[in-house]
């Protein structure tokens, strides 16, 4: 884990309709680390993640990646940046007209790889890494939620990215599949040395994968620190979240 900030988010503001989702959110992500962004459901975590790959433009604020401000780039200018950032969508977002093999091979083909032998080899490697070998011919509709997520992860890592964004990687999965996804996140960090940002409200997942944790509350960064600091803090909002207490428990 490096001490050089790879992604710097400064005073990010986003509104959807009249509702202010992000209210001056700032964050630094360091090279090689896994940062977990915690927060309530509907609190703007996924919205924040979409900004990091240019899928949404903020009302104000900046996102610096390798010194370049993503918020000022056009769709075409973002293409080279997006080749360095992989994203795992909450439900996988696999292309439903393609089978597993073609989904995973898609980034390679789109980025100019013509040799089918090389494509096949890399697809097999990526699928093996996510324990999905043997499912190449299946269509996304015939896969379970966990399998879809793993295939989507294989697609995200086949052209090894510098950064991987995970949107609720364990949501809706049984504990065993969720654990296999958590292991994968760790494996990818150690094997591919990628920087990871994981958006979740699953504390088990957080404890398994995080180097550093941030808590998004009311559109602002409420907590930022290591797992140990998260465990030791007396802050009421953080404690309520970590201990799973609603604010009106009165304890």
């Amino acid at each position: 884990m490096g001490d050089k900030s790879l992604i710097s988010v400064r005073d990010l503001v986003q509104k959807i309709g009249q509702q202010e989702i992000l209210r001056g959110f700032s964050l630094d992500v360091f090279e090689g680390e896994t940062l977990v962004l915690l927060g309530k459901s509907g609190g703007g975590k996924s919205v924040f993640l979409r900004h990091l790959i240019g899928l949404m433009k903020p009302v104000s604020g900046e996102i610096l990646f390798e010194g370049k401000d993503l918020t000022r780039m056009s769709e075409r200018e973002l293409v080279p940046i997006r080749r360095k950032i992989g994203m795992l969508f909450q439900d996988g977002a696999l292309f439903d007209s393609m089978n597993v093999y073609d989904n995973v091979a898609f980034p390679l083909r789109e980025h100019g790889e013509k040799r089918e032998k090389s494509i096949r080899q890399r697809v097999e490697e990526a699928l093996a890494l996510v324990n999905m070998s043997g499912h190449e011919k299946k269509m996304p509709v015939n896969l379970s939620g966990g399998m879809r997520k793993r295939v989507a992860l294989a697609r995200a890592i086949i052209s090894p990215p510098q950064v991987i964004l995970y949107d609720e990687p364990t949501a809706g999965l049984d504990p065993i599949v969720a654990d296999s996804i958590n292991r994968l996140i760790r494996t990818l960090q150690t094997q591919l040395s990628v920087t990871s940002i994981v958006v979740t409200h699953d504390l088990t997942s957080c404890n398994r994968v995080a180097d550093r944790v941030a808590l998004l509350n009311e559109g602002r960064r409420h907590f930022y620190g290591t797992l140990e600091e998260l465990g030791e803090t007396d802050d009421v909002i953080v404690r309520n979240f970590v201990d799973g207490r609603s604010a009106d428990d009165g304890e």
Binding site: M87, D91, A93, F95, D96, E110
Partner: protein, 263 residues
């Protein structure tokens, strides 16, 4: 005042819509001229749009030609002008009915499917996944469809007109007993390359209308299955209206370039 505001908001909505469709068309043609073409996908779209629309276009053309011939015969027979049926039907098929009916049929069959497919991709985050994988949605989704439509549509129009004229000949000669030689000679006398040019130009313009409205509707679909349904319905309605309205202005304009009846 309320009436003024109603028309004002309608006009601004229409201008915004027109701007969005024009921008999409501009971006698509920029991509085509920049060579960002996926030939395999474009060929697939030609097959999907062109080959897949054969039955509907042939049936529409043939039965329109047939019924128009019968109706024209019933009217002209009283004036002893039966032999005028050939040129009347042929001219109408080339200049108006062929392009318009093909446009309406393709809008219903292909435009709706395009809008539904792209709309479903939009609401299931597949278009976001494309963008996240550094693939521009216009290059991947719109360019192949635009090429497929622009290549297929003029050919479908010609096919529709051809089937209409053949059906007209068959009904006129074998059902209504019009002399074949008069039917053919009059048809040749009153039709020329101008009519074919008009037909092809209209087909090309309608292709643009269908593909860019359909893709715009799909790319702007929101709110899940309901939104996809709404986008599909709007595609068919807006494409049909746009084709009918554009056809009037095209007829007036193209008649200056390719005048009818100047023999």
């Amino acid at each position: 005042m309320a009436l003024l505001s109603f028309f004002g908001s309608g006009l601004s909505g229409f201008t915004i819509y027109l701007g969005q469709v024009s921008l999409l068309a501009w971006e698509t043609f920029c991509s085509i001229f920049a060579g960002r073409i996926r030939f395999k996908l474009a060929v697939f779209q030609v097959a999907e749009i062109g080959y897949g629309s054969q039955l509907v276009v042939i049936v529409t053309g043939a039965f329109t030609g047939a019924v128009f011939t019968a109706q024209a015969y019933f009217q002209f027979a009283g004036l002893n002008m039966e032999t005028a049926v050939g040129p009347v039907v042929t001219l109408s098929m080339f200049r108006e009915l062929g392009p318009v009916l093909t446009g309406l049929m393709v809008a219903g069959r292909v435009g709706a499917a395009m809008s539904a497919e792209i709309g479903t991709m939009k609401v299931t985050q597949q278009i976001d996944a494309l963008r996240a994988l550094a693939v521009h949605p216009v290059d991947y989704l719109v360019v192949p469809r635009a090429l497929g439509m622009l290549i297929s549509m003029p050919l479908l129009v010609v096919e529709c007109v051809g089937c209409g004229v053949l059906a007209s000949y068959w009904v006129a000669v074998y059902v209504l007993n019009i002399e074949a030689v008069y039917f053919v000679i009059n048809m040749q006398t009153f039709t020329d390359a101008n009519d074919i040019a008009m037909s092809l130009i209209k087909g090309f313009v309608f292709a643009n209308i269908i593909v860019f409205i359909s893709c715009r509707e799909g790319l702007n679909a929101k709110e899940g299955a309901v939104g996809v349904g709404r986008a599909t319905t709007e595609t068919v309605v807006i494409c049909s209206l746009a084709i009918l309205i554009a056809n009037f202005f095209l007829t007036m304009f193209l008649n200056i370039l390719f005048p009818a009846g100047q023999r």
